[in-house]
């Protein structure tokens, strides 16, 4: 398995690229391709099915490509009002991610730069937050949201989403902020800048890669969130995408191509986001988890 073991001290070029790929790793390759098949098969199935109509779905081989391909399923889904759910998801996601990142950045900056007992307590609390299972708190959250008269509103989804995005975001951002050389802060201080100015003019631009990482990460979490919408909203008008998928599945159980078309549509924005920010997301995640 140890592909990287194939280091040759004399022939290998000095780049990392050449270092680990001298001899073929057949066993690893086999497992790699098997796993690829495992990953791809359900995705392939879901995508080709969306291009079939209901009749073809029942009669054709489920793994055969659609003959002829049709966009009917997508039409069905659009007529069923998926645009509305899509918009709800965008509102909730943007409305949660911006506060999460902004507030977490401020908190991380304070925790890294300051040294008061209060800040150390905050840090400990955020660490504790990593171990709180979201599901376990849903009943009191439901109670609070109803008491605030926010039940069945998009705002009800935003508030707890922010709370549960904060801990990990603070910790990732503070890891990055700690790597900013102290001298930079000192020189800005000598120039007479306040903490607030230093935070926004120096620290924020310097941590931009991490900001992108945590934005995508939180965006993914909120966009895909299921439990808060399930418990805290009720009206069909207020469904977000994952909940809409679930509801569709109940209502349209005879129209599987339409259900799967909704699945594909729900994934598209995330896919676009991932393609745009992939490098930063991956390097940010591995730096955050591997240190």
């Amino acid at each position: 398995m140890a592909a990287q073991a194939q280091t040759t001290s004399q022939a290998a070029p000095p780049t990392r690229r050449g270092r680990r790929s001298r001899r073929r790793n057949y066993l690893g390759g086999l497992l790699g391709w098997i796993w690829l098949a495992v990953i791809i098969l359900p995705i392939y199935y879901a995508v080709i099915t969306t291009f079939k109509n209901q009749g073809d779905y029942f009669t054709q081989n489920p793994l055969a490509p659609p003959m002829p391909p049709t966009m009917q399923a997508y039409g069905d889904v659009l007529r069923a009002g998926i645009g509305r759910y899509f918009l709800n998801s965008v509102i909730v996601t943007v409305g949660s991610v911006i506060p999460i990142v902004l507030f977490s950045f401020m908190a991380a900056y304070a925790i890294v730069r300051g040294n008061s007992r209060f800040l150390r307590l905050c840090r400990a609390l955020f660490l504790l937050g990593l171990a709180i299972p979201l599901q376990a708190t849903i009943i009191p959250i439901y109670l609070m949201i109803t008491r605030l008269h926010m039940y069945d509103s998009l705002g009800a989804l935003v508030l707890p989403s922010i709370a549960f995005g904060v801990p990990l975001t603070v910790l990732i951002l503070s890891t990055f902020l700690r790597d900013v050389p102290k001298e930079l802060f000192e020189s800005m201080r000598l120039d007479g800048c306040t903490s607030w100015q230093i935070a926004w003019r120096l620290a924020f631009p310097l941590t931009r890669p991490a900001i992108v990482t945590v934005s995508i990460y939180n965006g993914l979490n909120v966009w895909n969130g299921f439990l808060f919408p399930l418990i805290l909203t009720q009206s069909p008008d207020l469904r977000v995408m994952p909940l809409a998928l679930w509801a569709f599945q109940g209502e349209y159980s005879v129209n599987i191509p339409a259900v799967l078309a909704a699945v594909v549509l729900s994934t598209l924005p995330i896919l676009v986001l991932y393609v745009v920010g992939r490098r930063q997301l991956l390097s940010g995640l591995t730096a955050g988890f591997g240190k």
């Binding site: 150390r120 709180i132 009943i139 910790l171 699945v263």
Partner: protein, 308 residues
């Protein structure tokens, strides 16, 4: 977790807040703190309080002593849910760890095709659990899914309708969704192993398998701890996936703790009893997180969590 934080060490010594005429840094932490306390920490305390009530979710909340606790602890369904949750947790760990470790070691190589594979492996992480569950539900449909397409007798099963089979289906779908993430972790871990270790091992004549067990595996110790923590604690959160895939069925075959809580609270209107289950969930989660850190050695594990 509080203990972890104290090990993790204090931030650097510059105290900007002592400067004259400037708002203290402490204020900057407030917005994040307020949200966190209001919608994560207070609910955590609140759920303990609610477990001593007999609330139905609608009418007034009344104190009920340990009534809900006795009810839940005398219910064999509770133990079934706990047992099932642990079973899924442990089997998931046993399945996901070796697969993602081997895949991680493999894709850590730098050929282009491995990089492409690593990108494709990432796809399941982008999908919501609801989307994954719906796709698999239809793929596993006994009449129109995989079994109809491949005409292989062993595939023609009622995958989600058979109480024994469904357990393995759940394990498989969970692995499908989460192995990619752990592969990524291991890939990162492997890339940080110094190449010199392998060079000297090779001079000593160690083969590939030997190198894996003598160098790669020990060097990945902290990645293994991080990944295991996330798998074990994360397994408490498979709610969405199982809820959409099986709804807890057939019968109670996949009614894990989180699902049990939801059904008691929001379907059977027994919020008190559901809160008891929630408290059990919190305890299991905290015990796991702390337990694993202890096994893994505190200092190093703390700095790992810091990175999280």
């Amino acid at each position: 977790m509080a203990a972890l934080a104290s090990v993790a060490g204090a931030p650097d010594q510059t105290s900007e807040s002592r400067r004259v005429g400037e708002a203290p840094l402490d204020l900057l932490v407030l917005p994040a703190l307020i949200f966190f306390v209001a919608f994560a920490l207070i609910p955590l305390v609140g759920v303990v309080a609610l477990s001593f009530t007999s609330w139905d979710g609608i009418s007034a909340i009344t104190y009920a002593g340990t009534g809900s606790w006795t009810q839940v602890l005398n219910d064999p369904g509770t133990y079934h849910a706990i047992w099932l949750t642990f079973k899924i947790m442990i089997v998931s760990w046993l399945v996901q760890t070796p697969v993602s470790m081997l895949l991680g070691v493999f894709v850590a190589g730098h050929e282009r095709y491995r990089a492409v594979l690593a990108v494709l492996y990432f796809l399941p992480l982008l999908l919501s659990s609801a989307a994954v569950a719906i796709a698999f539900k239809s793929l596993l449909d006994p009449n129109f899914g995989l079994s109809a397409g491949l005409h292989l007798p062993f595939l023609s099963q009622d995958w989600l309708g058979d109480p024994t089979l469904v357990f393995f289906v759940v394990i498989f779908v969970i692995a499908w969704q989460f192995v990619p993430f752990h592969t990524l972790l291991y890939q990162g871990g492997v890339r940080q192993i110094p190449a010199s270790l392998y060079e000297s091992a090779q001079i000593d004549g160690a083969g590939r398998v030997r190198q894996f067990f003598s160098i790669t595996l020990p060097q990945l110790k902290y990645t293994i701890i991080t990944s295991s923590t996330l798998i074990l604690v994360g397994s408490l959160t498979y709610f969405d996936l199982i809820f959409v895939l099986t709804g807890g069925g057939p019968g109670n075959a996949t009614r894990i703790l989180a699902l049990d809580m939801y059904l008691r609270g929001f379907k059977a209107n027994q919020m008190g009893a559901a809160s008891v289950i929630a408290v059990i969930l919190v305890f299991v989660g905290l015990a796991l997180a702390l337990g694993i850190q202890r096994i893994g050695g505190r200092d190093r594990a703390a700095s790992q969590l810091e990175g999280l």
